[in-house]
Amino acid sequence: MITQRNLVVVGNGMVGHRFAERLVAAGLHQGWNVTMVGEERRAAYDRVHLSSVFGGTPPEALSLLATPAWYQDHGIALVLGDAVAAIDRGRRVATTASGRELPYDALVLATGSYPFVPPVPGKDGPGCLVYRTLDDLDAIRTAAAGARTGVVIGGGLLGLECANALRQLGLATQVVEFAPRLMAVQVDDAGGAILRQKIAALGVGVHLNKNTTAIVRRADGSIEKLTFADKSELPCDLVVFSAGIRPRDQLARACGLAVGERGGVVVDERCVTADPAILAIGEVACWQGRTYGLVAPGYHMAQVAADTLAGAAEPASITGFDLSTKLKLMGVDVGSFGDAFAATPGAQVVAYSDTAGEVYRKLVLSPDRKRLLGGVLVGDTSSYGALHQAMLNAVTMPASPEALILPATGGKPAGLGVDSLPDGAGICSCHNVSKGAIAKAIADGKLTEVGQIKSCTKAGTGCGSCVPLLKDILKGELKKAGVELSNHLCEHFRHSRQELYHLVRVHGLRTFDALLERHGRGRGCEVCRPAVASILASCWNEHVLEPAHLPLQDSNDRFLANIQRDGTYSVVPRVPGGEITPDQLIVLGQVAKKFGLYCKITGGQRVDLFGARVEQLPLVWDELIAAGFESGHAYGKALRTVKSCVGSSWCRFGVQDSVGLAIRLENRYKGLRSPHKLKSAVSGCARECAEAQGKDFGIIATDKGYNLHVCGNGGMRPQHAVLLAADLTEEQVVRYTDRFLMFYIRTADRLERTATWFNRLEGGIDYLRQVVVEDSLGIAAELEAEMAHIVATYQDEWRTVCEDPARRARFRSFVNSTDPDPSVVMVPERGQVRPASAAERSTLQPVEA
């Protein structure tokens, strides 16, 4: 008989959730009845990126995929909004605040920590807050509504994050720090000075060496000012404490478990506490006298605890933690690794500081200068990955290590080659992927892009800090394999698509021949001809069948229809937003019947009519045009559809007119040629019935306007779209979409979907947001003007063909005969037709078309 044992996990934070994932990965959720108790209303979310909620990220986007459904799917009972209040170690029962009794065979403490509030007079009362949970954020948001100035007490990592949050709420923000510098744990004085300079430039006041003595309140209880030990004062309306965290070890103390001198439940290297039935992980655990307030050690402990419970043959254990950090605070890059303060006896230091360029780099070296022990980087962390790895892998330093941090002529330091790292070097610490594993994936999968490495190995998909290293490894491996990496389009152009686009625009080149003559050679090919055709169309928007352009078009564009396996074509009329009248539906049916076409509903809310021969295409379109249809560009690397749900006009949940916006967008961008096809959707509420997050650009209605998501993809490599901007007006949606699309068209490779392009984009969504929303490159007006030209010069390609006898004449099966192509043979299937197979052709008679 199999006995089910009970496992109780106290706490559903990031580490608690990671522990649940590791349980599931080890199959332990099947041998144990697992109950997880979380005090917050929400399932575990990404606390590290809390401040991004004020930057427009919806709270749901912080989800760690820890949906209650995930727990349910794996048979884990998730109790939210309740907390374990007591542990009876004798009876092995945990009791929650609401009175639930949870018997356990094993119990895991993952209670995390709480913000420390120093005992300053006046700290209790309205306007004094902490910063740790989404509920705290709500409270800060509410309090900020009536405030103008906010002060953060604490200038550490979390304090600066919090200051960023206040800034984004529109408060005049000040940071008060007791120590003589910001981020005192990670950064030295010189680095702290640069950090302070950069943060002050953002308009955040920084006050160092300040010992807060009181929060002075007015008669009505509201905050008036802070006073400090040096007799100075700082008026403010709101105070957030971020003066460190303390482990939440009260449960352990109450049931008599050993705790550390400075708090935290004492654990051994297997995460087991003084009671063998109880484990502790994350910020509440105390190993060798200290607790760890970073998520990476917590994640490691989650793995260790899962291995301990599983009785794993080769269990992970705690051997020490790497507390290196790389982060971006208010747009300022900060990195700190290893022995950042040169505490090692005899350690040597080389440093480079540029107060004008706001860059600081320091390396701490072993006494013989052969090994890297640690370092600090402020303002530019591009070398963080390589240096950090060099430290972890004890890579021998070059004779002049200062070359690693001094700016080379190109402005960036020479850096350490990734070649110097051994195969065992852990490149992606989020997903524990080694250099060897990445090299193997590149060789086995013949990978040529960083995006492929990401999807094969998961490396680079966590914090993303190792992406520059991935690029270097890829370059090195391809070089070793003798693969020449060239971004040249083909043998006819020694230029990338992006460069050709630029040349076409800048020199006003209007034809392939003009471009070829000036910048290419030979006669072109099936690669560069369609690519240049697309660039010309994106820039000048002339009809794709102009005689100069016709020989560039791939068969689909050449015949403005989609070629099928038997050489016939399918026809997809545009149905903007998926809205169609009964009369139009009838016409589609009539046309299909008249020409014997097979009908299929597409995924883009349109109707596809299959089996038209070349000479039938203009005849089909004569009838479609008469019924008000236009080309749907299903054949082009162009805007396809803007799908929509029915929205607020009909749906009881809808908050905006999604159909109306979808039609507006589809009509605006129809005919736009781009490096690859473009799909879009508009959902009328957060239920997302139009699946906008799987599109190149997708819009989701909110009660305040629209959220614009970009760079999603379905198909072969599904990818969720990322939020570009929230709560926009319709006009903003149009403006940002104009810019976004034109920026993509300018910079993407040929046949590169927005999702792949995005994965390649250095700086990710922050960079894209800067360019599109904040216009950091100063090109927004240009991009909008380019799009305005496309919109103004739109023509229905099929109407132009049908109305022009010369163009029409190009649509025939034979140049010397009006006969239909006798090689096209259809057979019946399920009440319609399909192309005959080779075997059927020889035995069957064709059906009447």
């Binding site: 006819h492 006669r523 099936e526 020989p551 099966s813 140049v815 006969d819 192509d821 006798p822 090689s823």
Partner: protein, 113 residues
């Protein structure tokens, strides 16, 4: 080599857009005719219209270009390339399509098939 008596006019030169192809029907046979320019001038080519990889009659609708100077047409279906002069497939040495004689008589294109 074919004799002059079998030359059949199929269309005018102006019926083919430079650097593209059309299909002519000759006694039930489908022949792809291409008009292609290179550094040496303008050339006419005639190939069987059947794409041997799919069996579809589509080669006349393919894109033309050159690979290191060899003029080719790429099938519009799966993009295999065929040497316009010899019919040899550039992507599969075992495959070749038939070629035919083609000439310009005044403005008329004639095919020997």
């Amino acid at each position: 080599m074919t004799t002059t008596s079998s030359w059949t006019p199929v269309c005018r030169l102006a019926d083919i857009v430079p650097d593209s192809g059309v299909c002519a029907l000759l006694d039930g046979r489908q022949i792809a005719v291409f008009r292609v320019r290179d550094a040496a001038g303008e050339h006419l080519f005639a190939l069987d219209n059947r794409d041997p990889f799919t069996g579809a009659m589509v080669l006349s609708r393919g894109l033309v270009g050159d690979k290191s100077g060899t003029l080719f047409v790429a099938s519009p279906l799966l993009k295999q390339r065929f040497d316009l002069r010899t019919g040899a497939c550039l992507d599969d040495a075992a495959v070749r399509v038939a070629t035919y004689g083609v000439r310009l008589q005044g403005e008329r294109i004639e095919i020997a098939a």
